[in-house]
């Protein structure tokens, strides 16, 4: 409270009667999604911000106790809907940790590829929309043009552009095809050039820098105390990246850097995201070059992944597995135990705490949503700044209300 009082110069600034209350949201072009912030303003200056969330609460965790492990992947699409592939990967990573399934090397690589493409598309939209909010409209168009290409790749890969639901327990929906690989390669050739164009548009742009630098500063200790993860923490100098620190899938095989900054302001968060996209391009390139051959799903002997149609029609094991997995009173079994598994999603640590009760439906499916935790930092970051900085800070935290409220 000390810094706040110094800023405004009274004992308890939130109690002053000249303060103006402004409802920011729930419908506002700059929130991009449905969330509400009650701002207490002293002229242009934000004295306090009280977030009011829950407008998009849809009981995803309750639904998780009623849908089986394969069905629930469609719900995870709708959490952070700007990078649904990352949520799919996170969900089935958690399920496979609980069930103790070791997926095939090819599947690991394919999941790395889609997760990194999701990271690029998430960062493109979050930085692009942040630029849009502070007035850099062209920047946003460049970003969204590249994002469309990723949509195209995902459409070729799994038929859906937006809500992909690509992963399955013990595998993925379809194996990756040469056509997809070709599309990804042409995207990778083009992407760094666009990232360069985007950076040249705003990195030395006086208006953009003035809106971003020194706004919403989160120091390293505060980032840890506020439980921040992902680009928000890394922009404050916390060198935590689960891909390096707890290598899951096949991340041990790749050579990449963890991008960090020290400043902890909006510009640092923007910069970390831009740098991470280049690292993701490099990871996808390495994964495509070393993509292992072999099956994509675990075999029918594990009775975990649905067999292909050829196996169902031509082998007795395939038929039995298909029957066992699709009948409502059967399905596969998971242990009576609980586990937590997280991935480094574009927004931060996205984990699922799963409690298994022997059936193929989770007893409890808790999602650790990075947006929820980052949004709780928002009132602290915005205090003392002006009203126009609200959108800059909001954009730099990349708050996705569907993930926030679940």
């Amino acid at each position: 409270m000390a810094s706040l009082s110094e800023t405004v110069g009274v004992a308890d600034p939130t109690e002053q009667d000249y303060l103006w209350t402004l409802n920011f949201g729930p419908q506002h072009p700059a929130t991009h999604t449905t969330l509400r912030i009650v701002l207490k303003l002293d002229g242009e200056r934000v004295v306090d911000a009280i977030p009011d969330i829950g407008y998009l609460h849809s009981g995803f965790e309750k639904i998780g106790e009623h849908l089986d492990y394969n069905q629930y992947v469609t719900v995870t699409d709708r959490m952070n809907y700007i990078s649904p592939m990352a949520n799919n990967v996170a969900w089935h990573h958690a399920v496979e940790t609980l069930a103790g399934i070791e997926i095939t090397p090819r599947c690991k690589y394919v999941r790395v590829i889609v997760a990194e493409l999701a990271r690029i598309s998430d960062h493109l939209l979050s930085t692009g929309a942040m630029g849009l909010d502070v007035g850099a409209f062209t920047f946003f168009l460049y970003a969204f043009y590249m994002r469309e290409k990723i949509y195209d790749i995902f459409e070729t890969l799994c038929g859906a552009r937006f809500t992909n639901s690509y992963t399955r327990v013990g595998g993925v929906m379809h194996d990756i095809t040469p056509l997809v690989i070709e599309k990804i390669r042409s995207f990778l050739d083009e992407a760094p050039k666009t990232f360069g164009d985007m950076q040249r548009l705003v990195n030395r742009n006086r208006i953009f820098i003035d809106r971003m630098k020194g706004v919403g500063v989160l120091t390293q200790e505060e980032a840890v105390r506020y439980c921040a993860t992902g680009p928000v923490a890394r922009a404050s100098g916390v060198t935590r990246d689960l891909r390096k620190d707890e290598p899951y899938l096949a991340y041990e095989d790749f050579d990449f850097d963890v991008c960090c900054a020290r400043a902890g302001d909006c510009f640092a968060r923007y910069y970390v995201r831009m740098a991470e996209m280049l690292e993701s391009v490099s990871i996808v390139q390495q994964a495509l070059e070393n993509l292992p051959a072999g099956p994509i799903d675990v075999g029918p002997e594990d009775r975990m992944a649905l067999p292909t149609k050829e196996q169902v029609y031509q082998t007795i094991e395939g038929t039995i597995t298909h029957f066992e997995l699709t009948m409502s009173n059967r399905g596969f079994e998971v242990p009576n135990d609980e586990s937590y598994a997280a991935i480094e999603s574009p927004n931060g640590e996205l984990g699922f705490y799963l409690v298994g009760d022997g059936s193929d439906v989770a007893y409890r499916a808790r999602c650790r949503p990075p947006s929820f935790i980052h949004f709780s930092v928002f009132p602290y970051l915005i205090r003392g700044h002006t009203l126009s900085d609200v959108v800059a800070v909001l954009g730099s935290l990349n708050i996705i209300a569907a993930e926030l409220d679940r």
């Binding site: 106790e65 609980l98 705490y353 409890r364 709780s376």
Partner: protein, 165 residues
């Protein structure tokens, strides 16, 4: 999986701990009385400085469960990248645990969410209000005795029209 010497030190120092391990994840169940001192010790002396998540599980319909609720605290050590799951078991008549907001500001919303969904109160929390559900909501929907379809609360929400707004 965390270092055995940390586990041994923890076992020596605190009473009534139940350690277990599953899929390489170390878990410890701590009695509520020793909870706060264990968390302080883990954070300040063992460098578990990062609180990844706070959540709760309702074990009402769970096989062989002895307690109704289990609070789950996921801690991680940013230096050694170890993770530790700390659980506190609670029963229906006395759903109170000490709040961790004095240690981590990030615990604020996480504890509010647990209160909102399960009705577990956090002693010492500065602002324990509902967070996702409206203030007027009376039930705790993630409890197992709450039906998936709801109990009609939604239909009884007041509708505000243009004249009243």
């Amino acid at each position: 999986m965390i270092r055995p010497d940390v586990l041994d030190a923890m076992q020596d120092r605190f009473d009534g701990l139940q350690m277990s391990e599953f899929r390489g994840q170390s878990r410890v169940v701590v009695p509520r009385d020793g909870f706060l001192s264990l968390i302080h010790w883990l954070r300040d002396e063992q460098a578990f400085t990062c609180l990844a998540d706070i959540t709760c599980v309702d074990y009402q319909a769970y096989r062989d469960a002895r307690n109704r609720f289990g609070l789950v605290y996921l801690l991680s050590n940013l230096d050694t990248n170890e993770r530790l799951t700390v659980r506190v078991m609670l029963d229906e008549d006395d759903l109170v645990v000490p709040s961790l907001v004095p240690l981590w500001e990030g615990a604020d919303w996480l504890e509010r969410e647990v209160w909102d969904m399960f009705g577990v109160r956090f002693d010492g929390h500065p602002d324990l209000r509902r967070i996702l559900l409206p203030e007027a909501f009376t039930a705790f929907p993630l409890r197992k005795d709450y039906p998936m379809q709801g109990r009609g609360e939604r239909h009884n929400f007041p509708v505000i029209n243009r004249d009243q707004a």
